[in-house]
Amino acid sequence: MGEDLLATRFNMLIFRIFKKIQLSILFIFFLPYLIFSQEYIIKGTVIDKTTSQILSSVSIHDKTSLQGTITDESGNFKILLPGGEHKIEFSYTGYLRVDTTIFLSENIEISISLNPLTVSVGEITISADGVKDHVNSPLMGSFTLTNKEMMKLPSLLGEPDPLKLLQLTPGVQAGSEGNMGFYVRGGGTDQNLILYDNTIVYNPGHLLGFFSIFNPEIIKDVSIIKSGIPAQYGGKLSSVIRMNSYKGNKDSVEVMGSIGLISSRISVGGPFLKGKGTFILGARRTYLELMVEPLIRHLVNNKALFTEKSIYNFWDTNAGASLKITSRDNISFSGYYGRDNFTMGRAGMKQKSSLNWGNIMATLHWIHKFNDNGEWNTNISLTKYEFDLIGSQADYFFGLFSSVKDYSIKSNISLRKGMRQITTGFELTEHIFIPNRIDAQAGSFKLNFGQFSVMNALEGGIFFDEEFSLSSKLSVTGGLRVSFFNHHGPFREILRNSMDQITDTMYYPAGKSLAFFINPEPRLVIKYQTNENTSIKASYMRIAQYIHLATSATASLPTDIWIPSTSDLKPMIGDQLSIGYFRNFPGKGFEFSTEVYYKKMSNQLEFLRGVVYNSIYGSMEDNIESGYGQSYGVEFYLRKKTGKSTGWLSYTLSRTEQKFDNINSGLIYPAKYDRRHEVSLVYIRKFSEKWSGSAVLIYISGNAFTMPLGRYIIQGNIVNQYGDVNSFRMPPYHRMDMALTRKIVTRKNWSSILSFSVYNIYNRANPYFIYFEASGDIEKYSMKVRPVAVSLFPVIPSVSWSFKF
């Protein structure tokens, strides 16, 4: 009976998908044919002149017709222009602009090499009217940062961190001091699709989230999209963060590394097979054992929790390779493996606990070029995140293991036909969750948790995206993703009677569906370009998210547990509307944009009690509240991309609210990450060939939190009586960081950089959390309770030395 139902569901799914695709194809394919006249195609590839690496997202702009495009992930571009003379410019942050004049009377193919700015001495002050990508680009709500920019900015303890730098851009908020978890336009930390070479990263944090798991030398660039997300991405409601790794140099072997206060790293890269391929190998390790004990001691400022001995370290390794098999085929590999190990104990109390966690990722990417008009990208990947928490005290033992593992395949074809660009394909991911495997023992008695459950789910999507111009000013990027999620067997459901006794286990065989969801997700961006330097864009997107993060605290922790949608846990659905205005100021090198957005998220989940509670009770229903959230706001952004001084200023005014039936009597209340104002200023200054400096200034309104209103006495203990959830505000967060780098060139092939960084330069004590400390002896009538704000990072100077040869 159940299988019949499943078959019917699949039939319906296939029927629905085909119907939707047919409609979109009819609409999108044929409409532009009615509009175009006699035009020719310019196509080509853009590469880095020094390393021959392909460059994606390079802006190509025709000054004559005001049309433009950007290069795709393979460095290819294609633009359809009317016959006649065209002045076309190629520009990309950190590279010298190239202008060419082309007379078009037939389809042509060109190859462009761009010079990096840093190697062209004397070219650093070029006038910067060339940077047009945000006006021309079919994307909105997007931002890209290159490795060069990353390395120049100040960092905590000398470890540049791509994800933390994204938190300085509009609409992206840091979760808490130094934390990797971040919120994009009111969405939770689990709503960001973080892709490292097209592979999902489940937990991007080392050291309880204070450091990114990404070795900064390996990251070529990082970008974020917050609205109008293309249909090829799905599964997370709020953003797509793409990180592309550096795969080594084609010409010679190079060694890069750095020695810092808390960690050192080294990487080796170069060519193989006579330059047909390139590779890179990198490793990083901390010696943080020396530092973490004082940190933990202050972090957990409760004497009862004081630890006598703690050991902490993390390490990670990266490997990457790229190989050109034929003139049309390129295969690349990238892998990551990293671990954090943390042990603490109190000998006096016979307490010992340890927490180990880490990610493994591996990706194989194949690009096949059919011809110059199209290519086929296929990506096979594996990603795994796991943690293992062990705690013991005298006779008691508790162990909690959790993991999520994905096997994915994504394959898509990109075709260009005239000015139209089509991307279509599919994505399939088999998730294997072990939400919680618990061992607990009290003396010689083992607690009976039943058999732990492994949850399997197949998530997939079929997508279609098309970009086309309706006129020289109006262009549309539209698409549809049809996503589905099937929670299937093998699965062992533990059945308990009303006395909580385990009576039976219900077994669902492999492939049997326990819950099935399907969602059409339309995406649309409309761009109206009024002139060369100005455009207005509007976008709508719907995204379904099928996996949830059960968090236990305000900070993102390694012990947050990923769980799939089930018949009890419905998928989250997010809808977002946004409108933006984009403007370039040629000659001055400035770009400006502003965006207004409204986002609604249904089926948001709130886990009422901690992870352990979630883990212990078989059914999570009574611990989970389902409600909705909404966020709206306006973002302003001014960036200077070229010249001796570069950087950006961003301001976000926003509100994020939630509504749950059983929280605050069902009234709308502020989400914990509702922050009214957010300002960041990033400034990079090149003083000379050797010296450059940078500064970052951040101001964020305090986040909402729950406070006790009163207190009372139970059995001689003072306990708190809490007010409404999130009805209080933390003090505002602000901080300034500065960095100074000195480039040392000793020999031709040997260069090194000495970086001095100061975090929190004016030593602002930003509250990380507030706790209530009771002291004294109530029975002696002297008792004090006070709120105490704990701050993590005071002014922290650091120095690191990085080298390359």
Binding site: H298, M499, D500, T554, L557, Y712, P794
Partner: protein, 287 residues
Amino acid sequence: MKEILFKLLLVIILSTTTICCNNDLDLNMPEPDDKIVIDGWIENGQFAKVLLTRNSPYFSSIDSASLRAMVLTRAKVTLTVGNESEVLILRRNDDFFPPYIYEGNEIIGDTGKIYKITAEYGGKEAWAYTTIPEEVKLDTIYFKPDPGSDSLGIIYMEFRDPPVKNYYRILSKCFRDDHRFYSSMIMGIDDIFFNGEKFGLSISRSPESFISSKPNKYFKLGDTVSVKFCTIDKAHYEFWNSFQDEVFNVSNPFAASLSSIKSNVQGDGLGIWGGYGVSFYTLIIKE
């Protein structure tokens, strides 16, 4: 040698720079509604006992005067079971805090019955119901020296959990210096993982309060210890379980506490009115 110097340098730099700052905060908060706080219990074979206080605003200073103002000594506390009822009488008892306790004189706790408590004060009224579940006997209870120690240890007990839903609570009193019974560190135990099975538990010395925990958590040779092994009802268990979250997690940033304690008191009240099915043991730990 170089490495040692380098490490030393790091330690110096890091220890001077990563000092966290704890600051007092100034927060403006509204005052809470005035509530009657019931902290009361009834055991099988015993009279009811109720400590009555009121809540206080978070930022009122706490000294002897304000603490005394929290104590309600002029309330009317009524215990009802079936058609029977009695008004409890206030007595001074320095073993408790506050040192005033409302006690029954007539009605004795009996297994299986439902007891209602009502507290009235200044026009406000709070009430709660509880039951006394069937008590469960221990199979064995003994002192278990700590490995590596010849005089310090814990108390270990085993019992067979009846195949019905049970919640437990263990209270102990060490005659060395305890004035009354204190809860074990785990304040409420749910039989979900051992329902109907034989199970063992150990307790260390209970702290008097979680504000000032005793440094020594062990029992030792020569101690005389009384243990109350109690069964409690579900609402009573939920109170202590959430109370435990509150006292353990309130200063832990990595635990989502900040949710209110689940009270079984209705009306203008907070706190707990709990029935205990007690089986009582006294252990003399011989030298």
